[in-house]
């Protein structure tokens, strides 16, 4: 599949209906996943606050994992070293394990196993396949939201001039993108950063309000190289955060490129914002003459980690 078709395929993933059953009793949720797969966990974490939720993006699991833990592990390939290691430990502790993968070792593990269609996607393009089962299983998805979201993503697929303009502005000065989000989109900002890394192959950086008001803010006024950065700031529906954004831009004499929230339902807003970032990073790759799909280095790294000698 061409990379542009992978991007356009996001909306089709909304129709993925698989879900798992929540165990009758569980005291906490632990979610494991790395990179393009783990981002679903990070985004989900900001939406779910009914039980303590703990994220893992490393090899080891916390000591508190037990029979009363709902342990969810996501890896598109099903072969991610860190995630497989974490799941094996969780099984030993007797946790209720759910795996979400398209194959590999992971697809053979777990009390419940969600099988993602393979479809030849890169993990980072399979966001819908990973996020939807989470949201459906926890009862966060309405059919009407899916329709709204599908329509919005279709519109973006056929017209994303605004996103292209941001890419052009970034390329003009070879700027380093800085993306500022806030709850519930902190990790959408992080996703944008990772998309700039993986698609455009450039260094990028994300942070979030209000925390950045306690550190980054001081840098913004007096740093060197400020004009080497390109600030994209997500609009916030929280009045306190919206005010912080306005005040921060003003007192630090910064120029924030505001990214609007579009959509009615939470699902539509989330996916629109995610997909908008897909296009900024994609268009920037094209402007750089870089293949957005190419991830040779990650494969080199995977091989080197398996090689006992290196």
């Amino acid at each position: 599949m061409e990379f542009i078709d992978e991007l356009r395929f996001l909306k089709e993933q909304l129709k993925f209906k698989e879900r798992f059953e929540l165990p009758k009793h569980f005291d906490n949720v632990v979610m494991a996943g790395m990179g393009g797969s783990g981002i679903s966990n990070k985004i989900f974490q900001e939406m779910y606050t009914e039980k303590p939720l703990f994220l893992i993006d490393d090899y080891e699991i916390p000591n508190f994992v037990s029979k009363s833990t709902l342990f969810i592990a996501i890896s598109y390939s099903g072969t991610t070293e860190e995630t497989v290691n974490a799941v094996q430990s969780a099984i030993k502790k007797g946790a209720h394990v759910v795996t979400i993968s398209s194959g590999g070792t992971l697809s053979e593990l777990g009390d419940q196993r969600i099988k993602i269609p393979r479809n030849d996607l890169q993990p980072r393009s399979a966001m819908g396949y990973m996020l939807l089962p989470l949201m459906r299983s926890f009862g966060m998805v309405k059919d009407s939201d899916i329709e709204e979201t599908y329509d919005l993503l279709s519109k973006l697929d056929s017209d994303h001039k605004d996103a292209t303009r941001h890419a052009q502005d970034i390329k003009k000065l070879d700027s380093v993108p800085v993306i500022y989000g806030a709850m519930p989109y902190r990790n959408v900002a992080y996703r944008w950063k990772t998309q700039f890394n993986e698609n455009s192959k450039i260094i990028a950086y994300s942070s979030y309000f209000p925390e950045l008001n306690h550190n980054d803010t001081l840098a913004l006024a007096k740093t060197y190289r400020k004009k080497d950065f390109y600030f994209m700031v997500f609009e916030s529906e929280d009045k306190r955060i919206a005010k912080r954004i306005r005040v921060t831009e003003k007192i630090t004499n910064s120029s924030f490129n505001m990214i609007r929230l579009v959509g009615k339902s939470s699902l539509a807003k989330l996916f629109y914002l995610l997909h908008y970032g897909d296009y900024v990073s994609y268009e920037l790759a094209l402007l750089r003459g870089i293949d957005p799909a190419e991830v040779e280095l990650l494969l080199t790294l995977k091989r080197a980690m398996k090689d006992q000698k290196s």
Copy 2:
């Protein structure tokens, strides 16, 4: 107090003996704090995995907070808007609330209240006062570790040539510092970033292994402006992570400035690494002719947030 004396005062804070009693029964821990105060929570989180631990650096608390929650809130000033708001919500939910502060609204709230000496410090210089009560209350501190740590910090206070050299290298090209950590020092890397922001008043950026192997790594090989960044990478005692660092540096053709772990006990290693970063950011401020103590903009922001009209 001169800012250099604030830095030198860190070792004295190791002697702070206050602690709180853990409730007989609690199912989860929630910790609230922002910026220079919240960093203690972030660092503590990597050391404690006996119960689910949830961090807040925002206004709201998660729904699961209940009578069986141990809720710990830290604010050096005791007046941090977000943290005070979160504590008030936690009290309404009946959580067991512990506050750690030097005064303000926060010092008048909570079932247990740790009073930090005021000593005229900036919040970011009071790290010991905030981290020690946490570690002592959870039984993580031995007297012999305190002695070792005190001695190591004293040595750094009188000789930190290496840290100064990093500052000089950064200033030479007006580089943007990038700090890569790994468990249990991910948030020490984040602390370095915030110290560069607050002390040196420059943009900086942190991330962590192994997660960055799934995104940043692709950027490192092909990004523009790579020579505008200065990479500092913490040594890791985990063999898999150590290998990832070596392989990443090699296959991305990067130049990592390795930061050594020094010390025997975990406490000593942690504080040495923290303090080393204090000095890099401090020396860089001096090289820039910037007052490392000045935080006028944060006060401007606090006032603006209270002002109904802005």
